[in-house]
Amino acid sequence: MHAVEVLGLRKSYGKVEALRGLTLRVGFGEIYGLIGPNGAGKTTTLKCLVGLLKPDAGQVRVCGRDVVRERVEALKHVGYVPENPVVLQNLTVEDFIRFITSLRGLKWSDVREDFEDYLRKFRLAGKRKALMKELSRGMTQKALVIAALLVKPKVLVMDEPMAGMDPEAQHVFKEEVRRAVEEGATALISSHLLDMVERFCTRVGIISEGHLIMEGSIEEVKEAAAGSKSLEEVFLKVVSHGG
């Protein structure tokens, strides 16, 4: 069983085909980087994974559960950080995160210690009583990452999770994701930060025009792309030559 299994996924927006039979598998304990040009279908893939979009065809499974047919069972294992976060503006940071954990049926007393720990690590302790609308983009991102980590999901689905984060928070983010992965979780991260993906992810998938055009460990994709020296070089070769 894979942590994430996407088989022949198709999704269109009117006449625009965003995904054209995408297939990818991510195992437990992996940090998988999904990269690709704008409009390649990365965000659509992630939204299908977390049940925000229904596929036109194909299957999406999380921990062996079909996201469409067994939505509730599948999403019990998911923590999500969206690309353009719209949050509950008039809740305080603490209330927002309590709200998320409460929706998951978690008792606050069970997660409070971890919450305090994350607040301290992400330097958000001083903002716990601030309204979400008062936070900067980077701080909002930190709150969303904390919420996703706090529910201890088996699969972390994150769309540009480090957007706006300061370098220290980026470091903490990577440390915490690595820790979650060591505990058995899987992280699927979509990003345009190729340097970060190269150093942080254990495997990478390059998506273009709704297809997965290359996949493997960082070394494997570098080798496959005519011995490229960096992921950026791989990306430019593969995407500009259509794979």
Binding site: L88, N90, D95, S102
Partner: protein, 549 residues
């Protein structure tokens, strides 16, 4: 040397550019870039053409008194001494009072859409030109939105005595709405200019003093004071005279020409006043009202306004707490409801004691048209707020809550509560006018209709959100087309409401307390059963349709 492309130019060109792209973004492209939008507008345009053709070919109101309904209305109003002069004075007074109140309570922040704030205002364009361009947009929007024009024309056709006067009445209504659109912009800028000089409170006091003086003078005279009736008389006269029999078309056209003056004055005020506005005075917000709300929130204890603490003890309670209780049980909402009930009740009591001859006329007009119309308008705007505040964060529920039933239940109850509060305004006002408390039973009697229309509105909004991605792309809630379709649904509520209020009034007047109480109990039971059934249906709809955030 490298030369930057583009440089500040003449104001008019920038103003027209702002107008052109803003109109494309908010009014034109949302309609013409979809087949259903084009079909809808074509349907509306066809309706407008047919109506205009029927007017010119004489199949419209062609008697000297217009359609039977307008004749009956005039006869009814005349019974209570409400001729066109009195009604013009009343309408003029209301318009003046609204203007004074808008000036008194305007926010000293000029609201701007986020995209415009980020993109347009970082271009080499004067803030004055940007604001003037946006004011032009608000003017043009009044005239190009066909469903809006069509609804006004239909309204005018029913009430005007001739086709020519129906057209004049429609134009007059458009001028009035244009005036208020410009007033909204102008008052923000005036408030800002006054705040910078430390004169805002004094100006507010002056506006309120003027209103109080006008009200006292009205009470002393037993009719609207010239202090209130005269300033905006042209706006009122052009509308009321176009619906009256005696004034000639030329006379109405004269008043209509004069009515352009207040709107023109507002427009001319904007560029020089906007010269005092800096980019830091512009507030990037989703909704125009948000600036005012945020300003108030900044003064008060953030988050502490929720009377009932957030209950996070279970997923269902958390959803209910955040979606429903935090919206309903907060001091600003309770203050608004108290004012919404208290002011009309006070006005109705004043009419009852000072102007007893008007009681029947005021009751009839308010219950049969004004209040249901205002309620439907209010509900449409509340649905916009639901989109902005609740559906934009829909991803949170889809990903972390997973079941939609608690969300559907909280949203349904929220809209039902807002609707019943609107009904409470009518019931309390009627009770004040008649001093018969049985009229309060109107609130439970309308419960089933309220639940059904609330469900229908939310279901439509969910559907629109999935089809047009309005949650993602419209920062202010629904686009105009969606708003108008939802408004049509609210018309169902108007019909049900008018029926329920008529029956309630009849039963209250014959003192059928037992019958009315039984009807109220049955209605509450039916309403509760409907809520239970429809919340599940709504949850299924929400699960079925994608609302990409």
């Amino acid at each position: 040397m490298r030369v930057s492309r583009g440089a500040p130019g003449l104001g008019l060109k920038e103003q027209l550019t702002v107008m052109k792209y803003s109109l494309k973004d908010t009014a034109i492209n949302p309609v013409i870039r979809s087949k259903s939008g084009i079909a809808y507008m074509a349907f509306m345009a066809l309706g407008l053409v047919i109506l205009l053709a029927s007017l010119t070919l004489g199949s419209g109101p062609n008697t000297s008194e217009g359609m039977p309904m307008s004749h009956d209305l005039r006869a009814f109003l005349a019974t209570y001494g409400l001729n066109r002069f009195v009604i013009t004075d009343v309408v003029g007074s209301v318009l003046t009072a609204l203007t004074a109140l808008t000036f008194a309570f305007a926010s000293p922040k000029v609201p701007v859409r986020e995209a415009e704030y980020e993109l347009v205002l970082t271009q080499p364009i004067e803030v004055r030109d940007f604001i003037t361009g946006k004011a032009l947009v608000s003017v043009v929007q009044q005239f190009i939105f066909l469903p809006y024009v069509l609804s006004m024309l239909v309204f005018a056709l029913f009430l005007a005595p001739s086709p020519a006067k129906a057209l004049l009445a429609t134009t007059s209504l458009l001028v009035i709405t244009t005036y208020f659109a410009l007033l909204d912009t102008a008052t923000n800028i005036v408030a800002l200019a006054l705040a910078k000089r430390g004169l805002r409170k004094a100006f507010r006091l002056a506006c309120l003093t003027y209103l109080i003086a006008g009200s006292i003078h009205t009470a002393m005279l037993g009719r609207p004071s010239p202090l209130l009736a005269v300033p905006l008389k042209p706006l009122a006269a052009s509308l009321i005279y176009s619906l009256a029999i005696s004034p000639s078309t030329a006379e109405v056209a004269g008043w209509l020409t004069l009515s352009l003056a207040p709107a023109a004055l507002m427009f001319l005020l904007i560029p020089p006043l906007a010269d005092t506005v800096g980019v830091e005075d512009l507030k990037p917000v989703a909704l125009p009202g948000t600036a005012r709300r945020e300003e108030r929130a900044g003064k008060g204890g953030k988050g502490a306004y929720v009377l009932k603490g957030l209950d996070m003890s279970s997923p269902d309670r958390a959803a209910m707490s955040v979606i429903y209780y935090s919206a309903i049980l907060n001091t600003s909402h309770l203050r608004a409801v108290t004012a919404a009930v208290g002011v009309p009740v006070a006005a109705c009591l004043a009419v009852r004691y000072f102007l007893p001859a008007w009681v029947a006329g005021v009751t009839g007009f308010a219950l049969s048209f004004l209040i249901p119309f205002m309620t439907a308008m209010m509900l449409t705007s509340l649905l916009n707020a639901v989109i902005v505040n609740d559906l934009m964060t829909y991803w949170v529920y889809r990903v972390y809550l997973m079941r939609m039933e608690p969300v559907a239940k909280a949203l349904l109850l929220k809209i039902v509560t807002y609707s019943l509060e609107a009904v409470a305004v009518v019931a309390a006002s009627t009770t004040a006018l008649t001093l018969n408390p049985l009229n309060l039973l109107l609130i439970p009697v309308t419960a089933p209709a309220v639940v059904v229309t609330s469900f229908a509105s939310l279901a439509l909004v969910t559907y629109f959100a999935s089809k047009r991605k309005i949650v993602k792309q419209s920062p202010s809630g629904m686009y105009v087309m969606e708003s108008s379709v939802v408004f049509l649904v609210e018309l169902l509520f108007i019909v049900a409401f008018i029926g329920a209020s008529a029956i309630t009034q009849v039963l209250a007047s014959i003192n059928a307390a037992l019958l009315l109480t039984a009807a109220a109990v049955i209605a509450v039971v039916v309403g509760a059963a409907l809520t239970l059934a429809l919340k599940e249906a709504l949850a299924k709809l929400m699960e079925r349709y994608d609302i990409a955030t």
